[in-house]
């Protein structure tokens, strides 16, 4: 049951992020939520994508994330950008979810968006979303290099990758070509085996002990 060991780390993070979530704040006005959202429960229908909580980001917050999605993973030939396949909507679903990890991410993401707005005001006299694409990219780049906002940029990049590469479009972009029924498993192709054979020959003969 190896998954348990790795997942425990996530569980611990859930707990440690509860305190952070209590301090969630933002200069961006969020949508009003009129009811307490519930999670999907411990026994949801696995064949149906039912999201039981409302998305709560404001139009401007969502637009800012849409721009950031295209900065983190822009389009390249044959592969759409993160925003083109709606990763910003995934981010809205994520930071609106009624779970501690997501609540902690919400606090972090909204702080980052506020920092971007403050930078835009300071440098350009406008909000982040009003800046042009190259100005937005430059501001995000500076956030990546600034210690106070590095945590935001790293987590945003993680979440954009998670939202992108778990889609069919993302599979094509990263080179995942499985999830298709086979009558038999052939193993790695001959060219891969040759590559490994060649690499093995280059290894030193010295024995490694444990």
């Amino acid at each position: 049951m190896p998954a348990g060991l790795v997942s425990r780390r996530t569980a611990v993070k859930f707990a440690s992020f509860i305190a952070l979530a209590a301090h969630s704040w933002s200069s961006f006005p969020a949508r009003a939520v009129t009811r307490s959202p519930q999670g999907y429960g411990t026994d949801p229908n696995l064949l149906k994508r039912t999201v039981t909580w409302p998305r709560t980001l404001s139009t401007r917050q969502l637009l800012a994330l849409e721009r950031l999605c295209d900065i983190v993973l822009p389009a390249e030939p044959a592969h759409p950008s993160a925003a083109a396949i709606g990763v910003h909507v995934f981010l809205d679903e994520w930071v609106s979810a009624p779970y501690p990890q997501m609540a902690a991410d919400r606090a972090l993401i909204l702080r980052g968006l506020t920092a971007l707005d403050e930078a835009a005001h300071s440098e350009l006299g406008m909000v982040f979303t009003a800046a042009n694409v190259s100005q937005q990219a430059a501001m995000f780049d500076r956030l990546c290099s600034t210690e106070a906002t590095a945590e935001f940029s790293r987590r945003l990049i993680q979440l954009v990758c998670a939202g992108y590469y778990t889609t069919r479009e993302g599979h094509a972009a990263i080179g995942y070509v499985g999830n298709v029924a086979l009558t038999g498993f052939p193993g790695p192709p001959a060219e891969v085996v040759r590559h490994l054979d060649a690499a093995l020959k280059e290894l030193p003969q010295t024995s490694v002990t444990t």
């Binding site: 049951m1 060991l5 993973l73 997501m102 990049i157 498993f185």
Partner: protein
């Protein structure tokens, strides 16, 4: 397993399941990608192992708490569905070896089992033939081969496993061999072979992996001797004046009503700790400390596998052109314990064995893959075109080695009733005590060093997995291999069960889950649980025939 064997033996069986009914053929999410799920399938407190995990249950079950003694850490994973943990398990199907039944005789610690490998081997054969297990005969000390014709052919190794196999053989003289797993690589008993896509943990709608509801219960029902009642939470066993079990009390969790069913015999198979809980909550004049507990051993000797993990990026696996490396979704290779010579020479400081399994490769991307350090240069995270290129280049190159080791029971690892806390049904809950022994800590240190050497030899820079508290060893219950809470033994004074899983104190009460284990080897426990359950059930059928019960 007990219901299958007993019903085929002509015994009328009523199976009581605490959770809901479950139909893997209708409920499994087979070809959905993670993005088809809420939060793109990420794990949450509601679905700990991800949205698509087939399990109904987890480390936390709403309304069913447990407590942990001060200074201890323990997690209790529970299933609340027909088929229980067999819907969730990793499908790794390893036989205990001859040494594993003689721990005290060989190492001077723990206890010997009251049975030998030869006693259980025929049942391993039967289990493997019935459920379908792939693997190969490799002639490895204390990792028994199956007889010819029993196992199905193993699939070829994944690319990362092939590299590990090549490197370990050349650089370290250690063998990586085909895994043994309960997944069909050939059709068997009307079940089709695996289609080499979609993770087993989601459940298998074509019945190619082993889950009780798809493999054991349909033929058991077909005998006409099995009835199944779900949402039936058993909480107490009853005795007659002669000390025989008369039946069980249970709560219908859909209505909250209480019921009693009578039986000529009772077989407990509720999972190691839940079975102990039922016994400890079944107090009576003859058994004030819990049913079948004259030895005082019920709830004691609790063990779980000792696991450590080491990860690395392997450069030789980077930049490889895309190819389908899904396979059967679990590891195709394992590294059986290789330290027998070292132990014989007295160079090891621990008496247990461990084996190494490997995760990684080009499996379907999940959210968890990105919840870790992503590429950066000069301390600045990559993004844009450079990130795309790195993600594509590095995909499939991350590997994680995991050690699974045996554990010596100790007095500080146990469960008992916490009478101050009751669950939503009013049933007193368990309190867990846990402390790893010195043997396990030494084993874990050795495993981390060994696996670091392995990934270094493969060309990677090892990162040792650590928990939030800085520990590098799994906590109790985390690996969901807990066993031993009603152990079998040679004498009624220090064990709960005889060698057939029959209670010394109550002759028509059997235990057919991991509670019966007298020791904890490195091998994953499921196949031994099934083999022992089959052996116990045969004994019960024979006892009925001989009119001993």
């Amino acid at each position: 397993m007990a219901a299958y064997v007993l019903s085929h033996g002509g015994v009328n069986v009523l199976l009581l399941e605490a959770g809901r009914s479950y139909d893997a053929t209708a409920e499994s999410a087979m070809f959905q990608v993670e993005a088809d799920a809420p939060l793109n399938g990420a794990g949450t407190p509601d679905k700990f192992f991800g949205f698509y995990d087939a399990a109904v249950g987890g480390y936390e079950v709403p309304g069913e708490p447990y407590t942990v003694a001060q200074g201890s850490q323990f997690q209790w994973w529970r299933a609340r569905m027909l088929g229980g943990r067999t819907n969730h398990w990793g499908r790794v199907t390893l036989r205990y070896g001859p040494y594993d039944f003689r721990t005290f005789s060989r190492e001077g610690v723990g206890v010997d089992w009251p049975i030998s490998y030869e006693d259980i081997a025929p049942y391993y054969d039967r289990v493997e033939k019935l459920i379908g297990v792939f693997g190969a005969a490799e002639g490895i000390e204390n990792s028994p081969d199956s007889p010819p014709g029993v196992l199905l052919p193993p699939p070829p190794l994944h690319a990362h496993e092939l590299w590990m196999q090549m490197v370990l053989a050349k650089q370290m003289g250690i063998r990586a061999v085909p895994e043994h797993a309960a997944i069909l690589t050939r059709p068997l008993n009307g079940r089709p072979a695996c289609l080499y896509a979609t993770p087993c943990s989601r459940g298998c709608s074509i019945r190619a992996n082993f889950q009780t509801p798809t493999v054991l219960l349909p033929p058991a029902l077909a005998t006409g001797h099995l009835q199944i009642r779900t949402r039936a939470m058993v909480y107490e066993l009853t005795l007659d004046r002669r000390g025989r079990a008369t039946g069980v009390h249970y709560i219908d969790t859909s209505t909250g009503t209480r019921h009693f069913v009578r039986g000529r015999a009772v077989v407990l198979a509720a999972s190691a700790c839940e079975s102990a809980r039922i016994l400890l909550n079944s107090k009576s004049g003859p058994f004030p400390d819990g049913l079948a507990n004259s030895s005082g051993q019920v709830g004691r000797n609790l063990t779980d596998s000792v696991t450590t993990a080491v990860s690395a990026e392997i450069p030789v696996l980077q930049g490889i052109p895309p190819f389908n490396d899904d396979g059967v979704s679990i590891s195709h290779a394992t590294v059986p314990w290789w330290g027998h010579r070292e132990r014989a020479a007295g160079r090891l400081q621990f008496p247990t064995e461990y084996h190494v399994e490997m995760q990684g490769g080009r499996s379907m991307p999940s959210v968890g893959m990105f919840n870790q350090q992503l590429p950066n240069e000069h301390g600045k995270p990559l993004y844009g075109k450079a990130l795309r290129e790195r993600m594509r280049n590095d995909f499939g190159s991350k590997v994680t080695l995991l050690s699974f080791g045996g554990m010596i029971p100790n007095a500080e690892c146990r469960c008992e009733i916490d009478s101050s806390v009751k669950d939503r049904w009013g049933i007193p809950v368990l309190r867990f005590h846990w402390k790893r022994g010195v043997h396990e800590l030494e084993q874990a240190r050795h495993a981390v060093a060994s696996m670091s050497g392995m990934v270094s030899a493969m060309g990677g820079k090892p990162t040792v997995f650590t928990q939030a508290d800085g520990s590098f060893i799994s906590t109790g219950g985390q690996i969901v291999h807990e066993v031993g809470t009603a152990r079998m033994g040679a004498a009624a004074t220090d064990s709960v069960l005889n060698s057939f899983g029959q209670c010394w104190d109550v002759r028509n009460l059997y235990i057919a889950d991991g509670a019966s284990f007298a020791g904890h080897a490195d091998k994953n426990p499921t196949e031994t649980i099934m083999a022992l359950a089959w052996r116990a059930s045969d004994h019960l059928v024979d006892s009925f025939v001989r009119k001993e019960i």
